[in-house]
Symmetry: C2
Subunit: 333 residues, 2 copies
Amino acid sequence: MGGSTGYAIGIDVGGTSIKLGLVCCDEWNITARTVIHGKDYETPDAFLTSIPAAIEKVCAEAHVRREQVLGIGIGLPGCVDSLRGIVKDITNLPNWRGEFTIKKALESLLGIPTYIDNDVNLMSIAELVRGAGNGCRNMLCVTLGTGVGGAIIIDGKLYRGSTLSAGEIGHITLFKDGEPCNCGNWGCLERYVGNAAIVNRTVRAISESSLKKDILMKSIHNDLSRLTPKIICGAAYDGDELSQHIWEETGSYIGIVFAAMVNVLNPDKIVVGGGVAQCGNMLFKAIRKTINERAMPVPAERVELVPAVLGADAGIYGSAIYSVKTEFHEEIG
Amino acid sequence: MGGSTGYAIGIDVGGTSIKLGLVCCDEWNITARTVIHGKDYETPDAFLTSIPAAIEKVCAEAHVRREQVLGIGIGLPGCVDSLRGIVKDITNLPNWRGEFTIKKALESLLGIPTYIDNDVNLMSIAELVRGAGNGCRNMLCVTLGTGVGGAIIIDGKLYRGSTLSAGEIGHITLFKDGEPCNCGNWGCLERYVGNAAIVNRTVRAISESSLKKDILMKSIHNDLSRLTPKIICGAAYDGDELSQHIWEETGSYIGIVFAAMVNVLNPDKIVVGGGVAQCGNMLFKAIRKTINERAMPVPAERVELVPAVLGADAGIYGSAIYSVKTEFHEEIG
């Protein structure tokens, strides 16, 4: 290592651990990495102690000098002001409440330009630059998991919107008079295709549907509390009819909202990641079918629906890339 | 006039007439204007004869020299390839079928740079530059009439999408198992709030609803064939309960889709024009109520919902501005 190569630090803050990587700016590969455990960042002070030490560690391991580190990027699972570099609220880090001026604090500690954003925005940057969205001009990036998140790439740049909150596709109304959602709306997409919703729909179908469900019931030993999207997915691939129905329905729900996004955003690609997306082809086929049935023909034909490829490292890549590629930095409008 | 002031020609092609204006580039005001009637442009050849003559006429009237005309913009109510300047299909001009290379043809006739786009895109440019959207960075522009059209301004520029078809909000699914639409989907917004749909919903409500409808029935002399959105609107303002209900319902349907757009696009403003928007405050209040109820709080608080202000001249302004302001010209991606 060494020489004049530039590096960036990517920091992916999760609810229970932080993944930190030293990323080489030539090829955007992770050169060294470490993990910081929950108790070492449960307060902003602890975070500001742990991060410099972890950066020291990965640089030493890779024989990279501090001057070669051109930027630090931080992805956070919550509400952040990316423009001013302030963390507003991270549900899973209650001790961070209040306005944590994370950018300023780290910059004065380390003297390295620091940028923050939410995790879905950074995943979209990672997939755009070195993942499934490579070469795209216009792209929608979606995570399907506990919630449904989205980020929009327009003309090769992250589009954040007028209050930095663009891309919230999870709270689009799917059913006008549907179930109430935490966001205050009813019938949001997330209420039907989030992790918990998939399980709940399956529980209901088990008691109401006449479709065959032996494979599924065997795999959970008849114990409904064992149901997870992963198990329902496994049963579907093993031929369980009820489970297959659940995924077709899930795909059709997601497809209705994706078709709307195809009509409105007319993207080259929709990149889909997150735990629920692990269901793979069965889910993607159902989404694709609905897009083809419902979206306008020309944009529907153009759009590619592809799985995200960077998995658990998307956060490290995205935050590192974001910290040094200025086209992703927002301007005050 | 005369001197060194620059001018642009704005051409708004409608189904039954063309409005053409000479627009001053300093203040974007219409200096002179003329109308071309249907038979004088029913074929591409007729169009290519009429337009140069009309330009000659407005320039002469305003004492503007040909060299002062810096650009020609043309707005068309249908499917156009704005990138290559080709008209693909205009439903109301059947003799234009085939690929009419309108940009090339006019440029070689007149030697003036010529640009084309669809009418909703050009309306959005007009409202952005000298209308209700002035000063916006991110904006959604919507026309409510026979159909429901949309155009998106991102970062002060028209966003056209990867196949130049972005902004099609009229064919977003409102009701999953709703009425079939010409576009191939079912339950599209347009099937519930387009002109014909508003009338149909009113006819149904007249036979099914117990709301008071005397004022409405009197205004159509009990003849349902006289129903139009305008009449239903007049009755609503006169206190007719059934008509008021129709507009509240119309606003809630539009509001569901606007709330989705607020979540995804996070715009500064939504500018709404077209015949149905003439219903004014009663409709706007119902839309606003639904946005507030359904969209995420931060982007909902930011977005302003405002009526378009340029009315029937939006097409002339938009096409003229488009022809000379390069930030609105698309690039090959």
